[in-house]
């Protein structure tokens, strides 16, 4: 029996320990599920196994033989094949060139024999029942689902000893997911160790014989799947958290503020309806990349969308960030450095840059005194030290930069604030300050839409949480029932019946 054994694997990036001595045992002939929240270390573990990343310490053996890792070519030579979540196929090359990359049939001088290459690619596709895919097309012109299927075909070009499916089904339709998992099963039956990394609890339950749960860079549970129920697995994924981060809220949400119906962004997101109330903190949850970003960008006017919306009693168009801000809807984007800040400019200017017309005299010159006063007032509100107003934003810590972004957004005096993962990469102390600020704003009647990749944040800061999957709203956790478990349950789809959405 083939056996993959990982022991004491450690990896840190700077001061952050991503893996703290992870262990894992997976047998050949079985599908082994690997579960964990975002940031639990799953992806890092897979990257080490596939040779993309080097581990700091620890050992990996296959059938008792140590595996040489650290380079993709070494892992491949050892028989480890990975179907990457972020596709590894090259968009400008053709399907045939991609499928046989590095194993092209060559003649003299490394000349690739074009016809034979295409024939081999066609044979390979036929082996997997994918004859419909044209081997001469540039890969980038294929639909995302087909590209993911080709990723699987490429990984199974030669029989693997270890097959890693790294969230390979997360972007796929049910039909395609079933196909991918079927290929995983076939590889297992041929004796391979198959590791299935997924967020979908139901998938692990349906396909994996065993499951290992990672949390915070440690393996916290390893059981045969049949011996653990969903609650046990979810509890293992979450663990215990003891953080007093979250402020008490005073007021309760009042009447409707922003009503959106039939919102769609391209064909990836929507149609969906939602209502935000005055003084409400509305959470948007779900796994990463389920359309939350697009939803917030659309509401903030940063991407084109279709559908209709009313802000208080007036129609709301949201056609550009500028108009959205003028109407009272302000978006705080996810990537503060790229989308929110002028890094080389001083803090004061960053605070006022979104509202410069207010400080501009007739003729186009800026009233420096009024600008400085406003900047100082904002700095006080969001808790940035006044002596930093003159320094470039790039000199500030991540947390302080985020406060500047918030200060800028608040200077426009919004009635709706859209926050996209505004505490990512922010230290705990600043997080608490930001949450307090959110609570104060809500108590003043501002409606806040908050997306966060951190479940505990959603559960503790929001009045209610809408959960998204594949671009749609799949459920709502009302205020009385808010908990990390409830959100995660909807997000991983272990209770598919609760698809009705009260908006």
């Amino acid at each position: 029996m083939r056996l993959l054994k990982v022991a004491g694997l450690r990896k840190s990036y700077g001061a952050v320990d991503v893996l703290r001595g992870v262990g894992l045992e997976a047998r050949g002939g079985e599908i082994h599920g690997l579960l964990g929240e975002n940031g639990a270390g799953k992806s890092t573990l897979m990257k080490i196994l596939s040779g993309v990343t080097r581990a700091d310490a620890g050992s990996v053996t296959l059938d008792g033989e140590p595996l040489t890792l650290g380079r993709p070519t070494a892992s491949t030579a050892a028989g480890v094949r990975t179907v990457f979540q972020e596709l590894s196929t090259l968009p400008q090359l053709t399907v045939a060139e991609n499928l046989l990359y590095g194993a092209e049939p060559t003649a003299l001088l490394g000349h690739v024999r074009g016809r034979r290459l295409r024939d081999q690619a066609r044979e390979l596709l036929a082996r997997f029942g994918l004859e419909r895919i044209d081997v001469d097309r540039r890969l980038g012109t294929l639909a995302l689902g087909d590209r993911q299927l080709l990723e699987v075909v490429k990984a199974l070009r030669e029989t693997p000893r270890v097959l890693i499916l790294d969230e390979a089904t997360s972007a796929l339709s049910a039909e395609d997911s079933a196909w991918v998992l079927g290929q995983g099963r076939r590889a297992a039956e041929a004796g391979a160790v198959v590791l299935l990394i997924t967020h979908r609890l139901a998938e692990v339950r349906a396909h994996a014989e065993r499951v290992t749960v990672l949390r915070g860079g440690d393996d916290v549970l390893a059981v045969p799947t049949a011996e653990a129920d969903d609650d046990e697995l979810i509890a293992a994924m979450l663990g215990r958290r003891v953080e007093r981060l979250y402020p008490r809220r005073g007021g309760a949400p009042a009447g409707p503020l922003l009503r959106v119906s039939d919102l769609s962004v391209g064909d990836r997101v929507g149609p969906l309806d939602l209502t935000l109330h005055e003084g409400e903190v509305l959470g948007i949850g779900g796994l990463q990349g389920q359309g939350q970003r697009e939803l917030l960008m659309a509401l903030g006017g940063a991407v084109p969308w279709s559908g209709s919306a009313r802000l208080r009693d007036a129609p709301y168009a949201g056609t550009s960030p500028k108009r959205a801000i003028a109407d009272g809807v302000t978006l705080v984007p996810e990537d503060r450095q790229r989308e929110g800040l002028l890094l080389a400019d001083p803090v004061a200017r960053n605070l006022t840059v979104g509202s410069l017309p207010r400080f501009t005299r007739p003729g186009g010159l800026i009233d420096a005194a009024r600008e400085a006063t406003a900047a100082a007032a904002q700095a006080t509100q969001v808790g940035v030290a006044h002596d930093r107003l003159g320094s470039p934003v790039s000199a500030l810590s991540g947390g302080n930069q985020q406060k500047v972004v918030l200060g800028k957004a608040l200077l426009a005096d919004p009635s709706v604030l859209l926050l996209h993962d505004c505490t990512r990469g922010v230290d705990v102390g600043t997080k608490a300050e930001i949450f307090t600020l959110i609570a104060e704003l809500a108590d003043r009647g501002v409606g806040i839409v908050l997306y966060s990749s951190d479940l505990s944040e959603l559960a503790n800061v929001c009045d209610r949480v809408l959960v998204m999957a594949e671009g749609r709203l799949v459920g709502e956790v009302p205020s009385g029932e808010l908990s990390e478990e409830a959100i995660l349950r909807l997000a991983v789809g272990s209770v598919p019946d609760r698809a009705e959405v009260a908006a």
Binding site: T89, E104, G114, R472
Partner: protein, 328 residues
């Protein structure tokens, strides 16, 4: 959750006629200019005359080929001007002055070009310099070397070179044969495994690495080959003008970039090719030929080239949008 199964029929795609619009647009441009030039100067329709026209184009063709290689791996090579000048002055001074085996000495010039390109490659692939910065620096450095070899225009180009360039092979002017050899060499490179790796690195470096591509080695070799091509360009100019010039290379830097862009090689890397740039470079030469045939001022041909750059970039964007539809 939307888990409705997609009917298989819906995903079948009709086979599209395979027209490579990038090549089509560039070919059309070249063909149009050839027709215009021939109608203005009917005397050109003669193999010897064409050979002479191609001879004037040779230096640019080779520098454009060099630039294309760098751009394909998502880089840029400003130092082609410097490498060109070093090769040009070496040919006019060292090779010309030395007695004996000129062919061997010309080979040494090519090796020097390869070495200068490899230095770029080490700076960029090995030490992680931005291609723009690294080759901006080496351009100046190589330019200095050229001035050291030959402080002002002059020198003596070996006769063997001029006679090769002005000769014929089986009745075909040597310049045309040289272009054919360049295109053939490119085809061999393009269809080799190394060629696929070049495109892979330019397409997406991270993904290329995931696929086991030796990314740094590919980059280094590509810059070395670019140095070689730029050196050939310098030798060609020396042969065509029978003299050396330490500053002759500089105009070719921007002209080669124009040729790359007009030809349709993506500045983002991974798409395009030397053949396209060669056609575009020849188009630029034809424009100045047409302008001089019509007795137009120099500024007209310069302005026309600039306009062409903008027109081609626009045309390409429009055609690609229609051909590809919406691609992510």
């Amino acid at each position: 959750m939307s888990t409705a199964t997609v009917p298989v029929e819906r995903r079948l795609r009709l086979p599209r006629p395979r027209i490579d619009w990038g090549i089509a647009v560039t070919t059309l441009l070249l063909a149009t200019l050839v027709v215009v030039d021939l109608s203005l100067q009917p005397a050109l329709a003669d193999i010897t005359q064409i050979g002479l026209l191609v001879q004037t184009a040779l230096p640019l063709l080779f520098v454009a080929a060099a630039q294309t290689l760098a751009v394909l791996v998502r880089g840029i090579d400003l130092s082609v001007g410097g490498v060109f000048a070093v090769a040009n002055t070496m040919t006019a001074v060292w090779v010309g002055a030395a007695g004996g085996n000129h062919q061997l000495l010309l080979l040494a010039v090519l090796v020097a070009g390869l070495a200068m390109g490899a230095i770029n490659g080490v700076l960029i692939a090995g030490l992680g310099f931005q291609p723009f910065i690294a080759t901006l620096g080496t351009w100046t450095a190589y330019g200095g070397v050229a001035l050291m070899i030959l402080p002002s225009d002059g020198g003596a180009v070996p006769l063997v070179l001029t006679s090769i360039l002005n000769g014929t092979v089986a009745g075909i002017p040597a310049s045309i044969v040289i272009v054919a050899v360049l295109l053939l060499a490119w085809r061999v490179l393009r269809t080799s495994r190394f060629g696929t790796q070049i495109y892979a690195v330019g397409d997406d470096e991270e993904r290329a690495r995931l696929n086991g591509t030796p990314v740094r080695r590919v980059r280094l070799l590509v810059y070395a080959l670019a140095g070689l091509c730029a050196a050939v360009g310098g030798i060609m100019l020396a042969g065509a003008t029978s003299t050396g010039s330490p500053t002759a290379g500089d105009p070719y830097i921007l002209m080669s970039l124009s040729a790359v862009v007009i030809g349709g090689t993506s500045l983002r890397g991974g798409a395009g090719g030397v053949g396209l740039s060669v056609m575009a470079a020849f188009s630029l030469i034809l424009i100045s030929d047409i302008a001089s045939a019509m007795n137009l001022d120099v500024w007209v041909s310069v302005a026309a080239s600039a306009l062409l750059l903008l027109v081609m970039v626009t045309a390409r964007a429009l055609v690609e949008r229609r051909a590809e539809g919406r691609t992510p």
